[in-house]
Amino acid sequence: MLAAETVDLWKIYSRGAKRIEALRGVSVKISENTITSLLGRNGAGKTTFIRILGTQLLPTKGEAYVLGYDVVREASLVRERIAVLPQEAQPLMFPSPLEYVKYVLVMRGMSLSDAEKQSKSALEEMGIPRKYWNRSVWSLSGGYRRRVLLALLFAMNAELVFLDEPSIGLDPIARRSLWNKILSFRKRGITIILTTHYMEEAYILSDYVVVIHEGKVIGYDTPRNLVENLPVKYKVIVLNDCAELSKLKLDADFTVGSSPPYTLYYKQIENALEISRSLNVKDCNIKIEPVNLEDYLIIKTSG
């Protein structure tokens, strides 16, 4: 079964006389028990898409189904089965992590005893030390507050979880620990749809990546395939301005940047190496790297 499916999905916001087309005919199918990342620039429509699937926002037209249920007509059935972590969410000010997770679970209809059990095990799993469990959430660091929210989300026992930029505010170690959790939840059969601006995160976690640009899907594949199918394979990053650069930019297959750092993209490694040899490496301060998911996004959505 599909975890989510949209058919020609549109969302148009009307702000006074202004009409903003946030989604313009998005059609995707997301399989169950997968991790799918939505990538795109700010304002591309990722959050709008996730909020429509999460039943928080009504679409303007088109169809959207979650776990086989229509998000407009069968929202209550969808809501029994999903959990959402909105972008920039914060735990409440006064409760302790244990109280917050426990009572939000009760607010979802869980019994008090189950909520207590679930919240303790989720806090444990998210690596929140026991000494913090009964302090006010707001006495904790930003990273721990984020972990409390994630603990809550995963304690909900949902079949499908939406995470809108889940790793914002987490240090590199905590971010990796979150990745482990997300991967372990997929092993348990939970489907995860997330948005992120961290390309490494998307590459490591995702079975599939959906790239949205100006309200349209411009790429949908495994992260590896997206990168492999790019017409360019290597890039030369030039950190400083140097004499030969303007001529060499003309020889590149694709160029990004009107001031340092410049990125010059090439189809062949030989071209990239030749360019790097012709530049004064010390003056220009260059690096040669294979292209990655970030380059996919830059090439497909810039200009």
């Binding site: 909020r51 999460g54 039943t55 928080q56 926002l57 009504l58 929202a75 209550s76 809501r79 029994e80 999903i82 959990a83 959402v84 972590l85 909105p86 972008q87 920039e88 969410a89 914060q90 735990p91 409440l92 000010m93 006064f94 409760p95 109280e99 917050y100 009572y103 939000v104 679970l105 009760v106 607010m107 979802r108 209809g109 019994s111 008090l112 006010s136 909900m156 939406f162």
Partner: protein, 251 residues
């Protein structure tokens, strides 16, 4: 199935009320005190200026405005949870409904106001003398008023995009619902053309009922049953509006 649904709804509402009311009051008791400030300030002022007879009006006005303040006061919570904590967004995508959310907030407001309510009832007992019957009517009116003002506050606040917009709105609503209409004074002081509109406001309607059953005014503009029916109908209407017209799921 119906029993299960009702039991689950009660659990959801009490869960939110506990989180938002009891835990918050325990961690920050100043909040409880802040709810008492306006009604008790007016009580002190009335007592100093007019002695016991004016203080009786202030006690009834205090009871009414405490219920209304809780209802209107939840606008701040709604806007904060919606725009900053994103709790509303999380709860929309859950079995919780707009009505559960609103009732949970109203109940937490009730829990917050309990110490003040008890204190005000003590004053009422001392200054006016309360029978069991009048106490029962006070409690019923208090709950209806809390629910109807919570319905108004919730519906308005779900459309607010920024917490800061709530502050002036709640002050204006408080003035329009508690100070201007005959809540702290008898309706007989109003020009007769304004008595009808005053009956349609839940706060002044409730104040008329309470002033009458505690003997502060000798007669009502309409009979007691009609005023109670209007308040009851308003409660149902405002709850219905909060369920159907609030910005729970965004359009």
């Amino acid at each position: 199935m119906l029993i299960y649904k009702v039991a689950r709804s009660i659990r959801i509402i009490f869960g939110f009320a506990w989180l938002n009311g009891v835990i918050a009051a325990k961690r920050n008791p100043l909040w409880v005190i802040s709810y008492l400030i306006t009604p008790f300030s007016l009580l002190v002022l009335f007592f100093v200026w007019g002695g016991e007879s004016l203080a009786r009006n202030a006690v009834i006005g205090g009871l009414v405005s405490m219920a209304a303040m809780n209802g209107i006061g939840l606008m701040g919570d709604v806007a904060y949870y919606k725009n900053f904590a994103k709790l509303q967004d999380m709860m929309v995508a859950s079995p919780m409904t707009a009505l559960h959310y609103m009732l949970g907030l109203a109940l937490s407001g009730f829990l917050f106001s309990m110490p003040g309510l008890l204190l005000m009832l003590l004053f009422a007992g001392k200054l006016i003398g309360l029978s069991i019957m009048s106490l029962l009517v006070i409690i019923i009116v208090y709950i209806m008023l809390l629910l109807s003002t919570a319905g108004i506050g919730f519906t308005v606040a779900t459309f607010v995009r920024e917490e800061r917009y709530v502050w002036p709105l709640s002050n204006i609503l408080s003035f329009g619902l508690m100070i201007l209409p005959p809540v702290y004074y008898p309706y007989t002081l109003l020009p007769s053309s304004l008595v009808g509109p005053a009956v349609t406001l839940p706060t002044s309607n409730a104040a008329m009922i309470l002033q009458y059953i505690t003997g502060l005014i000798p007669k009502l503009p309409y009979n007691l049953a009609a005023l109670l029916a209007i308040l009851g109908a308003e409660t149902v209407v405002f709850l219905w509006i909060s369920l159907k017209k609030s910005q729970w799921r965004e359009k």
